[in-house]
């Protein structure tokens, strides 16, 4: 079984101690809660700072699809993956609270917007092929322009031409994490679906639905006091929230978050297979 935990503490020094403890304990990844109106340091900045204070644990900040420019969001997460050498995750935030939207001058968000933002981020992460930088001194070409792609995304509410300004993340694709309700209701493509419930029968039903909707891994999202043996065999992992992370029996970390989770490094959608 895989383990993950939400981490929170006042100030970055205290947070660093919590995350280092979680890394030593063998947690696969930590999540950083956030909203646009939350006091304190923004989640992406917390994760980026801790990328250089940790070496093995995955780091997954919450960024809200509805209150961020999709292009900036994709760039920030790709950069976190580069800075952490392949340990970035993204907890997909989808706030539609009026006061959250008002921080960016919006009064509403379209139904398909979250799925669109995830889709455009995934395309942008693929917009540079792995071998796009060629540094060919003989011809003076730094890039192979056939391997850096426009994504030409047209959503219902916005469009993005691309490519990303940042080369492909080390993991190929940042690990996309989110509530199972995002897959079930909004048709968002997730790598890790989080089922927030404590009733085992309810968890079982929603796990099946999340798998059917295409989530690669499904975690129970439970309070820190929850006994993980209750969902052994039912879920791929457990994500704790609310309270200090409990003691766990964990498996060793891989070199990247994808390796730790047993997820393959995805092929690039733009690469031509010969």
């Amino acid at each position: 079984m895989l383990f993950a935990t939400e981490v929170d503490a006042p100030g970055v020094a205290a947070l660093e101690r919590v995350v280092l403890d979680a890394e030593r304990a063998g947690y696969a990844f930590v999540t950083f809660p956030d909203t646009p109106r939350r006091p304190g340091i923004e989640a992406g900045v917390r994760a980026a700072y801790l990328a250089r204070r940790t070496t093995r644990i995955g780091l997954a900040p919450t960024l809200h699809a509805t209150t961020t420019e999709p292009f900036h969001l994709a760039t920030q997460l790709a950069s976190l993956d580069h800075a952490s050498l392949g340990r970035a995750g993204w907890v997909v935030g989808a706030t539609t609270a009026a006061e959250d939207l008002a921080t960016v001058g919006r009064t509403g968000a379209g139904d398909g917007e979250v799925a669109d933002v995830v889709e455009v981020a995934r395309r942008l992460w693929d917009s540079w092929e792995d071998d796009a930088i060629i540094r060919d001194v003989a011809t003076g070409r730094f890039l192979d322009p056939r391997k850096v792609h426009h994504v030409d995304f047209e959503g219902s509410g916005f469009s993005v031409v691309g490519p990303l300004i940042t080369p492909r993340p080390p993991q190929g694709q940042v690990v996309v994490i989110g509530s199972d309700e995002l897959t079930a209701v909004l048709d968002v493509a997730l790598d890790v679906a989080l089922v927030r419930a404590t009733d085992v029968a309810e968890i079982a039903t929603r796990v099946a639905a999340a798998r059917a909707a295409g989530a690669a891994l499904v975690f129970a999202d439970v309070p820190a006091s929850f006994d993980p043996s209750l969902v052994e065999g039912l879920v791929d992992g457990v994500h704790f929230h609310g309270g200090p992370p409990p003691v766990i029996t964990a498996s060793p970390h891989g070199a990247t978050l994808r390796e730790t989770l047993g997820l393959p490094r995805p092929l690039n959608r733009f690469a031509v297979t010969s």
Binding site: A48, F71, A83, T166
Partner: protein, 423 residues
């Protein structure tokens, strides 16, 4: 004694970086950034700057392949570098057109928090609709209103940094937000401003702590400093509340001749034959790949229409009059017998480059800073990490000998390094 302040401007794109050199580091790898910033900290630099460009440069519709490209999100990268350093300032270039004020203010304050008061924001504007195609509201802001938006944006950020409630609904900024990041050891991020137009200078005089100007020529620098100081007075600010750090490059040699030879070599390397052809294609709007860069200018005429904006920012004064400019180039090339490559070297805007032995450049900079023509320089490297190591190991000791450069950091914040009043 008056002190010189130094920064390094890491552009991450463009022809200034000589990637063809065998020891040129992988400029997209975090390890390269960590090495460079630690070297600068060893050299007691005030700040490390990251540039911004939100669309990969193109030439005639395809990705431009001759220059280095690929760069990180600035605030994310600087937050990572904050964990690797203890003193150096970390400055993110961020534009006011394609960002949300509350979101950007919060991320900058967050960088300031994790770095213990070392964050800076280099404020830029853009009205480039081509860049805007990557954003929700591409091209929405007319050129003449970009400083109006920037002024309201910066005022909003400052209010949020004081943890105030901001409710604003104008036709350039709309939001309802409250600041919520505890002020750092330096109060708020240090504000840099690079615009050289009248609007840019006014924004600097009103809001900036540091101007990152283009005026390094001694006489121009003196005139520019006088102009800015006069503007400061109009906003009730003291002369010491604004630092002037023009962008510049350095080419060092053991002898004056060696430095000059090296500078000439760098200029030739930065304008390779293929780059010279691509430069002309931006103006001609046609495929010129069949022309010899060491031969005469193309005999065909440029296409009508606007200058292609996709090679990066083009100053407003260069956006019109394309055909007249090309005609002037033809005259120049004919009169002086210049090849395509020679002409492009001749007409490319020169980076302000100081060429000489470490002692010569230290003498020159000592004069600049003692006369208060500038407060320091923001340096653009050509080689990574070579330029940075050279400046730290060879030029910095000469400046220290002359008493114009610190021998240890006295404070821990960017504001204290720059000797600026509380923000």
């Amino acid at each position: 004694m008056t002190q010189l302040h130094l920064g390094v401007f890491f552009t991450g794109v463009g022809p200034n970086l000589l990637w063809t050199e065998p020891d040129f580091a992988d400029h997209t790898h975090i390890g390269t950034f960590v090495d460079v910033v630690r070297t600068l900290e060893r050299g007691l630099f005030d700040a490390f700057f990251l540039g911004e460009g939100l669309r990969v440069r193109e030439n005639r519709g395809t990705v431009y392949d001759l220059d280095v490209a690929g760069r990180p999100d600035a605030i994310t990268q600087l937050a990572a570098l904050a964990a690797e350093t203890t003193h150096i300032g970390l400055v993110a270039t961020q534009n006011t057109t394609y960002n949300y004020p509350a979101d950007l203010a919060r991320r900058l304050a967050s960088l300031d928090a994790v770095s213990g008061g070392r964050a800076g924001w280099n404020i830029v504007t853009t009205d480039n609709a081509w860049t805007g195609e990557n954003f929700r509201h591409g091209g929405w802001l007319p050129h003449e209103r970009r400083y109006e938006r920037a002024g309201e944006f910066v005022a909003t950020a400052k209010a949020l940094w004081r943890n105030e409630r901001v409710i604003r609904d104008t036709d350039v900024v709309t939001l309802r937000a409250t600041g919520g990041v505890e002020p750092s050891a330096q109060g708020r991020p240090v504000l840099f401003q690079a615009g050289d137009s009248d609007g840019g200078r006014e924004l600097a005089a009103r809001h900036a702590d540091v101007v990152f100007s283009a005026n390094t020529d001694y006489d121009k620098a003196v005139a520019y400093a006088a102009d800015l100081r006069a503007r400061l007075a109009r906003y009730g600010r003291s002369e010491d509340s604004l630092r002037i750090l023009p962008g510049a490059s350095v080419v060092l040699g053991d002898t004056p001749q060696e430095a000059r030879d090296r500078a000439r070599w760098i200029t030739r390397e930065q304008t390779t034959g293929p780059r010279a052809i691509a430069f002309l294609e931006q103006y001609w709007g046609k495929d010129l790949s069949g022309y010899d860069p060491d031969g005469p200018l193309p005999d065909i005429d440029p296409a009508d229409g606007e200058l292609d904006p996709s090679r990066g920012t083009i100053p407003i004064e260069l956006r019109t009059g394309k055909l007249e400019r090309v005609a002037a180039w033809r005259t120049l090339a004919t009169e002086r017998g210049l090849s395509i490559r020679d002409l492009v070297i001749e007409v490319t805007p020169k980076h302000n480059t100081f060429v000489g032995t470490p002692g010569e450049i230290a003498d020159e900079w000592t004069r600049y800073v003692r006369d208060r023509a500038v407060d320091g320089f923001n340096l653009l490297p050509q080689l990574l990490p070579g330029t940075v190591e050279d400046i730290v190991d060879r030029l910095v000791p000469q400046l220290q000998e002359r008493g114009v450069y610190r021998t240890a950091y006295e404070g821990t914040t960017l504001r204290s390094h720059l000797d600026l009043p509380a923000g």
